[in-house]
């Protein structure tokens, strides 16, 4: 958790405190942007813009505990915007997701993601629609709770649960198909 006094100092316009905040959160922010965009340069641009927004709008932040969700929301929205600008934003209608019939109990032989299959997993992740990939990245890479993901993505808790499950199911399906 971010030190509340640090947030207060940034609210007062203290640039040294802002630099401290930036140093302590930049890798986490970068992971989210990179996880969504899969491009280091784009992720860096997004992060830079996100920190400018943080500095200019931090007065709107009510509590220091809310920083994690608020910061995640800024980065996620900016990443979606960048993805749309680049014409890479992928979305998928709900009925198409429910059509993914694979279940985790199919294929009784051992399922493993070996080192050499990591490339396949990265490709499978890119195949996921942006909103599903974002939910999965927030959960798996940055340990966001369902409540925090719901605040970041502006979706109900139930949708977070189903979105994460669908993301995992699509990923599993794609790895099984192996046609990437």
């Amino acid at each position: 958790m971010i030190d509340p006094s640090l947030i207060e100092q940034v609210k007062a316009g203290n640039l040294t405190a802002f630099e401290k905040l930036l140093q302590s959160t930049q890798q986490k922010g970068f992971n989210i942007a990179y996880g969504i965009l899969h491009d280091t340069l784009d992720a860096e641009d997004v992060l830079q813009e996100a920190y400018l927004q943080v500095f200019h709008n931090i007065k709107k932040l009510k509590t220091a505990e809310a920083f994690k969700s608020w910061f995640g929301k800024i980065i996620t929205h900016l990443s979606f915007r960048r993805s749309k600008e680049k014409g890479r934003f992928k979305t998928i209608p709900l009925h198409e997701i429910t059509q993914v019939e694979t279940t985790f109990s199919d294929n009784p032989e051992t399922f493993m993601v070996k080192q050499e299959e990591k490339e396949q997993l990265i490709k499978a992740l890119k195949f996921l629609p942006d909103e599903y990939r974002a939910a999965l990245i927030l959960r798996e890479w940055e340990d966001y709770s369902y409540q925090e993901i719901s605040e970041v993505l502006d979706i109900p808790l139930g949708t977070v649960k189903s979105r994460l499950f669908s993301a995992r199911k699509m990923l599993f399906n794609k790895l099984k198909e192996g046609d990437m």
Binding site: K60, R139, Y146, S162
Partner: protein, 170 residues
């Protein structure tokens, strides 16, 4: 999985420790006897672990310098003079609104006629501009209109950039 007491979606939430204690006990009890669900959970765990272990590049070590540099540049450019331009943008919008509300339909009608007869209008403007005498008053009026146009354009650009930065943050 149809005949099972637990659903895969609940197993996924169980894996994330995001399930009520009651449902959690039901699932744990079920897992003792259901090999199929046990395997499904095991695969979910493996997949989750594999995603967690994916390599992530390190952030640019100069990010802080870049951001702070940009903030300082903004601070320098945020002079009262620049703020005046921003308010000029807002004033132009207000003026446009005041003109458009009572005279909007007539103005659009006039614009329609002007666009329809664009060639004639252009000829007329060129002819008239040659006939207007080069008096100091006319030159001053021309300069004022041009400066006003440039200021309004700059003001709108500043206004748009400020709004674009604030739009995402609530």
């Amino acid at each position: 999985m149809g005949q099972c007491a637990c659903r895969e979606i609940d197993l996924s939430a169980y894996l994330d420790r995001e399930i009520s204690p009651e449902l959690s006990s039901v699932i744990e009890e079920h897992l003792q006897t259901c090999q199929k669900c046990k395997e499904a959970l095991n695969r979910m765990q493996l997949l989750s672990k594999a995603v967690q272990e994916l390599p992530r590049p390190s952030v640019n070590p100069f990010l802080a310098t870049k951001v702070l540099g940009q903030l300082q540049t903004e601070e320098i450019s945020e002079t009262p003079f620049v703020r005046l331009f921003e308010s000029w943008g807002i004033l132009s919008l207000v003026a446009l609104g005041i003109v458009l509300v009572p005279f909007g339909s007539s103005l659009f009608g006039l614009m329609y006629v002007l666009i329809k007869n664009l060639t004639i209008v252009l000829n007329l403007v060129v002819n008239l501009s040659w006939r207007v005498p080069m008096s100091p008053i006319n030159l001053a009026l021309g300069a004022i209109f041009m400066a006003g146009g440039i200021l309004a354009f700059y003001g709108f650009a500043r206004l748009y950039l400020t709004m674009a930065r604030k739009e995402l943050v609530s």
